[in-house]
Amino acid sequence: MLEARNLWKRYGDKVVLEQINLKVKEGEFITLVGASGCGKSTFLKMLLGTETLSSGELLLDGQPIPAEPGADRGIVFQQYSVFPHMTVLQNVMAAKGFQRPGLTGWLFGAAKRQARDEAMVMLREVGLENAHSLYPAELSGGMRQRLAIAQALLGKPRILLLDEPFGALDPGIRADMHELVLRLWREHQLTVFMVTHDLKEGFYLGTRLWVFDKTRHDPQAPHAYGASITYDLAVGNTDHRTFEKIDQSVTLTEKETDKLYEIN
């Protein structure tokens, strides 16, 4: 369903991504890992439609990906994903209101009752039915992310994009969230792209793992080369040595980038 052909992303002279070629089938669960600043988030934003590519092609069902966010691609950010002025239930119901054409996105009468029922079913599915009248500021970080996921799913997207969704959560809660995401992915037959900092999370969660890393380094001109996908693995049957190797290379790149920031 998704295809990238010789995709490049540059900011002025700085190359972020180079020579990305890939094909993704419907229903895959892909995790994107890599050092900070390696372009994995940039790639996710291109899928989302908030970043444009510099050259090459990024095709969804053979058509270029639209240059603005749309209902076929849902998103959960690390934070600020939910609307602070709506209760939990209103947040999820808003997804139904936004699906219908109209000036205000408010629902009335039968449409409102139906949206309410659907929203409650979705809240039950993510375990938030008892919190439906609370405001996001009253929720814990994990509950807020559950809400963001419920909201995104009620929009019935084909693709779900997750931008370090569990980065700010405690390890125990993170494990719960992993189970939830895996279950929803299977039940709703989604194609998932998830950016994560945590290599273990990437190995454990997905069906496929992409490692974004620089293959070429020029110490004199650190921005001359961009990152590309150095590993494209079907996860589940990878041995420990590969994990170590990727872990090492990503850490190395991270150190290089850190040094760079110190110098600048």
Binding site: P69, I75, F77, Y80, G97, F98, T104, Q151
Partner: protein, 272 residues
């Protein structure tokens, strides 16, 4: 002994400390007033409390011999009507301008430079123009208040709109929302409490413009009265009027703060 920066007053002490300056001011006034009146019983500069009380009785609770109106209340009604209309106009205009320039880059490109220039014009400098255009009646005074604070509210709300995290706008789009739905359901509700904040901050300027306009051309109003009795050095009227204006300003501010808390419960729940 703790460092001074770590010493905090207990609630009782805090209250006592807060009241102390008021008591001291009052005491100083009393002593000075007594001293002056002892020397010259006809002195008008620092009237005694009984003289001020007489003036309040005369202005607020006895009908004016010529017009039959209760002066203080009639003045209050005219002034509050002007202030209310001006602020209402400014709030509506400011909300529309701030929201549209904050949400729509095209509108921002069109109007932001103009808004910046207009906000730099001292409103009192164009008061004569307003009098020429609108005449000396009510519209000129309302227009002065509106013109004076609209740019502030508009620019404040524009900044507030831009502060709303991009993530929320992207999220709404991924749920299928169009531009007007995003404005109505994501931006506008989050801006309303900020509009109230903005109005609270601009009310000080609103009073300034109101009193200035009334001082120059009016036949009633709190500002008009103060400037009128100044000719007779009637400090016994001016002082209670100033206190009354201060009290009104305080009550309006408190009412708006209460309204904001009541209408938008989501903003004070928990911490972000």
């Amino acid at each position: 002994m703790k460092r001074l920066i770590n010493q905090t007053p207990t609630p009782g002490l805090r209250l006592a400390l807060g009241i102390l300056p008021f008591v001291l001011l009052l005491l100083v006034y009393l002593l000075a007033s007594d001293a002056r009146l002892a020397e010259n019983p006809n002195d008008k500069l620092l009237p005694s409390f009984s003289q001020i009380g007489d003036a309040i009785q005369r202005m607020a609770f006895e009908p004016n011999r010529r017009t039959g109106e209760y002066q203080l209340w009639a003045d209050t009604a005219s002034s509050l009507t002007r202030l209310g209309l001006g602020v209402l106009l400014a709030a509506s205009l400011g909300l529309i301008l701030g929201l549209s320039t904050g949400a729509l880059p095209m509108v921002s490109a069109l109007t932001s430079p103009l808004l910046t220039v207009v906000s730099l014009i001292p409103p009192l400098a164009i008061l004569p123009i307003l009098f020429i255009v609108f005449g000396l009646g009510e519209p000129a005074k309302v227009a002065l208040i509106a013109l004076g604070i609209t740019p502030f509210i508009a620019r404040d709300l524009q900044r507030r709109t831009l502060e709303i995290p991009m993530e929320q706008l992207v999220k709404a789009q991924t749920l299928g929302a169009n531009t007007s739905q995003i404005i109505c359901r994501v931006l506008l509700p989050q801006l309303l409490p900020r509009l109230i904040d903005s109005v609270r901050l601009s009310l000080g300027a609103g009073w300034l413009f109101l009193i200035a306009a009334e001082a120059i051309a009016a036949t009633d109003g709190l500002g008009y009265r103060i400037f009128l009795v100044r000719r007779y050095m009637s400090m016994d009227v001016i002082l209670p009027y100033v206190a009354w204006i201060t009290l009104l300003a305080f009550m309006i501010d408190a009412a708006l703060a209460g309204l904001s808390r009541r209408l938008f419960p989501w903003q004070n729940k928990g911490g972000h």
